[in-house]
Symmetry: C2
Subunit: 714 residues, 2 copies
């Protein structure tokens, strides 16, 4: 898909990020109260706008008056931060609105998170806010901060984070507190931190554009428990990631509910599958652990993009070099083949016993200048895309001296350099140097390698995004919609989710997906006649609204070569299915002529409740859930996305040919997948649609849907 | 396999671990020399045996005389540590031997790691050592230390590690330095550290038993670049892991060479596959990163074993609780269902808005005593096997106070409790308390969950090991060996690795693996006659020493029902194969009667150069390498091990039945796998042997090998 236009920050959110004056409602003289903490942080953060405190008891705090009501607060003021008991907040929002403010942060808890009464109170707040055009952040959040403006509108105990270039947006307040403390301990800074709380109004998608617009923010990081509007999140995030990287830690998988499904696609498409597809579409980098978020954020903030995945390891010891090489390969990158010239240049700098291959082992005697010079030589090698430097506590020099020697080389480089500083106390000075110089350093080679892999992933995404092209599929959307609508109007209401073959065939035809016609026989004789008409040999398939998986009840017979076999087959299928499923209504048996040999795959699509149409490709047949050789993408999809699905599965890779399997029509399979995805996206009434199998014929001969199943949304 | 007897430490290694006196040869007055560092460490470590220094220049060091030669060193002395230039070491070893010492650590480099000359010098050292019965540690190592004896015989800059209960054994010296520094920074101790260097004599397996015998060592950790003798490592480690856990970080995968292979099994069995199988057999826990080694070691050293995989999360904030729950499921554990009684008891301790389900969220107001009391309630619940406590910087109390309140409860518990202390500076006091109390703490819930998973893995291993039983397979090893030997004697030397069907059939018969006899036809007419004899329908398969994968050249025809089809089939196969592979010598076509329907799997075995026979089970056919649905174990294997292979693959799981696939003879497939493994173990001349497919018939009807291939070791 072509990118949506780069989203403009919503001007109604400006008061949260650039307020001219802030009123703290519930500012308190009691140091154990959150309203005290917030007032203190705002003052101590050196916020340059006007600071106003409101407390019904009056008095003064930090040399400022405590107004007894927001109505008394003088201009400029355009953001209220509310930290009073929940039950008083609706009235306070009325007053905020009357005072003319259009933005409020509700830090207080006691809302939706406490049960139905709290939820009602929260809804009342939203109604009042809407009536006054007030945007709300929270409730039940710790607020937000900006280290560059600067402004600390949180109530967390000081000190706040150091100024930096990473923005952190979180659905969890407790995680914010831990992240600030941890980031300071790790010596890296944040630009913004936003705690979203219950998200009664402003949500994770709303804040992306204003935060990405901040020139100090180089990377956005998200702690997500879900997204409020999947397609909007993809659209906004997808545009922003072309400018700045977004890393997301999405949690809450274990709670994923199971849905009722009738298709293989539905059974395999969990909530996490949809999130992975959405993140890939939007170019959002998904971290699996909290540590990865910040390991990767530092590299993305501070390193140039690599041109490829070839990494060289520069070390003064063999063991950690081997560990790094393993980690590089484990992260899907390659050990660079360094050139003859590079080896010669290294040879001139190092003792004879040094290893001039990758990993380049300078030996334990390596000096700061050898580190710097060898690094420069390696950076000059066109075969090298990035460098992982390993620095255990060096026996003869200090790690700090090595750091100082390397930093100018790293700063001048147009390739990423990351450092594995192994140890703790003996490397502390080097840690400080690297952090100050914005060179990503990690305690172990494994984490450094993972950061390099994310840099490569990001570079590849940007290049893919720059080269994205879309091709029109030429589908007859109107015809498909009309067909489905007339079926829905005419159908028997008891057949809630069933769609007969005849309807599905029309849909496929409108979307240009070839299928071998199926005709319904209602007697053995009728089947034999249809077989003659369609052309022998034929396949027979049970026709019953209650039977989704026909093979499971032995409802399919293939390769019937004569009329007699077709008749016997009809009786056999009906008899077997009737015995297996006495309740099932049997409409008859479908007759279909057999198709030439090829490779069989499965195509499917479902409607994901968060992200809409989600398409699947993979190994089909009856063992889909067992083999789990499938991949998913949001639909509709570009050619690149469809190819990615094919190439991520064994079913797709073998279309190119494998051993005695001749190559088949990969291109036709890829297009059929795109067409099915488009169909699902255009017809959201289809809960599930699945072609199993799709027969992929020899090259140039296209594909045929051999069996199709679809069901309607409830 | 039943355990080997618990290995006795080799008495010749005692001087390394309990020396009565140590002579430092190369002790130096120059603080930049390693010989100075080692002398200093030995003295400062408070080693209670005699310390002797040797330096040809004489003088004194640290108040002790510098003897000019080892011959002058008085008793007691039973360990020499040598830190002099490599070229002088052979002579010195002679003198050490003459002085009557039987153990030496060679710290100096300049040996095998520098090239062929160094390797020759190293071999000379070994010859001299053997002549004098001297055991050698190194060369090119940093030495060893014991924090409890105490003795520091390394030359690393101080301070050494804190006393602790984890032993670290390493092939890399640089990693040792980093680990000591890192462990001290992380506040945990080591009992022993052994740097193995070039391992000219003493290797990783030799030191296991003496170190495991140390009462202060609760966990052994290994940094391995390989093993010297695979089967001996498995035997020693396998016995020791029944007493003490061993964690290994095995590196060097990227360097794994590819072998020339003719079978699917060989193509899929990499060096790492063999290591994984070996570690599983020996009960060695394999870590993927350096951080995991020590994350897990602390939990294994300090926690009781859990009874199962049900974990409860105790938290004061929702977000980290969700993260922990995800990590628990991602690590293959389960969120415990806590009982009604437990919920009632928690309800009595917590405010109404708290969540009494798992994760138990006490809310941000949770006090130290609420943490301790809720923890106790959860530990009392029979549904709970272990507890993950989450402690972000608490808003109202100090994390330190929470730690102090919980520690007595954790100490009294018979279930593991690990803590995710989220943050850095605000939790430092709590970190200190937990470390002192030997409670494993981690910075993030993900790492805590991974530690709990390893505790469960360890408990399951111990229970498996305690219940291991072996059943005899009743095979005719003699007959198989005789058959193979007579074929080897009689064969044409040009057929280097080929073994004809007739021979393989005899081998399978001797090992009780059923197969449908194949007979060789050398004409179309002959094939038809054989088909009549064997019983129609039949299959035809090309017979050629040069063709390993018959389907790849369309050399197989199935389901031929009459003599005419057999004749046509013979001509077709011979013609097709001749066209495809004009160089191949065609012996004729094998005729085999067809087998009833069932499920097809692959069984294979190869000889791994490190660990011997390695067996494979999985999805067969021609797409074995594409589907990669296979699992490996060392052969021979127990029933439990064979079942583990079956149950780890989709091919094995579907033997129980799946959808319209009826259950088949799982037991017979499992036994056939064991029998093939036994055959490969008994006949190491077989480089590869593979049954593809093995047809597994309906329950009670056994299995049939349908196609077999074997090749000889070069």
């Amino acid at each position: 898909m072509l990118p949506d236009p780069f989203p403009e920050p919503d001007p109604s959110l400006t008061p949260f990020f650039k307020p001219r004056g802030v009123a703290v409602i519930g500012a308190s003289l009691d140091p154990t109260k959150l309203g005290y903490g917030l007032a203190r942080n705002l003052v101590q953060s050196n916020y340059q706008g006007m600071i106003h405190f409101v407390n019904p008891h009056g008095g003064s705090l930090f040399g400022r008056p405590l107004y007894t009501n927001i109505s008394q607060v003088p201009d400029p003021v355009d953001l209220a931060v509310v930290l009073i008991p929940a039950r008083f907040i609706p009235q306070t929002l009325e007053e905020i609105g009357q005072r003319g403010l259009r933005a409020a942060i509700i830090g207080s808890g006691g809302f939706r998170e406490t049960g139905p009464e709290g939820a009602e109170l929260e809804n009342e707040c939203l109604r009042i806010a809407r009536a006054h055009d007030i945007r709300l952040l929270g409730p039940n959040c710790i607020g937000l901060l900006d280290t560059h403006l600067p402004m600390d509108a949180t109530f967390l105990p000081p000190p706040g984070p150091l100024p930096g270039d990473v923005t952190f947006i979180s659905h969890s307040g407790a995680i914010c507190a831990a992240v600030i403390d941890w980031a300071r301990g790790q010596g890296f800074g944040l630009s913004h931190l936003v705690s979203l709380g219950n998200q009664v109004d402003v949500n994770e998608t709303d804040v992306l554009a204003p935060l990405a617009a901040d020139p100090f923010t180089r990377v956005l990081t998200l702690y997500l428990e879900g997204v409020s509007d999947g397609r909007r999140f993809i659209s906004e995030a997808g545009s922003l990631t072309r400018q700045k990287p977004i890393i997301a830690l999405k949690v809450g998988r274990f709670a994923s509910g199971q849905r009722a499904v009738a298709s293989h696609t539905g059974a395999l498409a969990g909530q996490e599958t949809a999130f992975n597809a959405a993140f890939r579409r939007a170019g959002v980098i998904r971290a699996e652990t909290s540590e990865e978020v910040f390991d990767w954020a530092r590299a993305l903030a501070w390193c140039p993009p690599p041109h490829g995945r070839n990494v060289v390891v520069l070390t003064n010891a063999g063991g950690p070099g081997v560990t790094a090489a393993d980690a590089i390969e484990a992260n899907g990158m390659y050990m660079a083949q360094i050139s003859q010239e590079t080896q010669a240049a290294l040879g001139g700098l190092l003792p004879p016993a040094a290893s001039l291959h990758n990993p380049v082992d300078m030996l334990a005697s390596a000096s700061p200048s050898q580190y710097a010079q060898c690094l420069q030589v390696l950076l000059n090698d066109a075969n090298v895309d990035s460098v992982l430097v390993i620095l255990p506590p060096p026996p003869m020099f200090t790690a700090g001296a090595v750091a100082k020697a390397m930093i100018p080389v790293i700063h001048a480089a147009e390739k990423p350099v990351v450092v594995a500083l192994m140890g703790e106390r003996l490397i502390q000075e080097a840690v400080e140097h690297f952090r100050a110089a914005h060179v990503p350093e990690y305690r172990f080679p494994e984490r450094a390698a993972s950061a390099l892999a994310v840099l490569a992933q990001r570079a590849e995404y940007l290049s893919r995004a720059a080269n994205a092209k879309d091709s029109n599929l030429e589908v007859d959307k109107n015809k498909a919609q009309l067909t489905l609508r007339s079926y829905l109007e005419a159908r028997n209401r008891s057949d809630r989710s069933y769609i007969p073959f005849e309807v599905i065939q029309t849909l496929l035809a409108a979307y240009g997906i070839p299928f071998k016609p199926l005709k319904l026989a209602q007697s053995a004789q009728g089947a034999a006649e249809l077989a003659g008409e369609l052309g022998l040999p034929v396949a027979l398939k049970i026709a019953s609204p209650q039977i989704a998986h026909k093979s499971d009840v032995n409802g399919v017979l293939l390769n019937l070569w004569d009329a007699e076999s077709v008749k016997r087959g009809y009786e056999q299928i009906v008899g077997t299915v009737r015995a297996a499923q006495p309740q099932a209504e049997i409409l008859g048996v479908y007759v279909q002529s057999m198709i030439p040999d090829g490779q069989d795959v499965i195509l499917g699509a479902i409607q994901d409740p968060q992200f809409g149409a989600l398409a699947m490709f993979g190994s089909g047949g009856t063992e889909v859930e067992g083999l789990k050789d499938v991949a998913f993408a949001l639909a509709p999809m570009t050619e690149e996305e469809a190819q990615y699905l094919l190439d991520s599965t064994w079913a797709g890779r073998k279309l190119y040919g494998y051993r005695n399997l001749p190559p088949v029509d990969y291109q036709a399979a890829m297009i059929a997948l795109r067409r099915l995805g488009q169909l699902a996206a255009d017809l959201p009434q289809l809960a599930e649609i699945e072609i199993n199998p799709l027969r992929v014929l020899p090259q140039g001969q296209g594909v045929f849907a051999l069996d199709i199943r679809a069901s309607l949304s409830a």
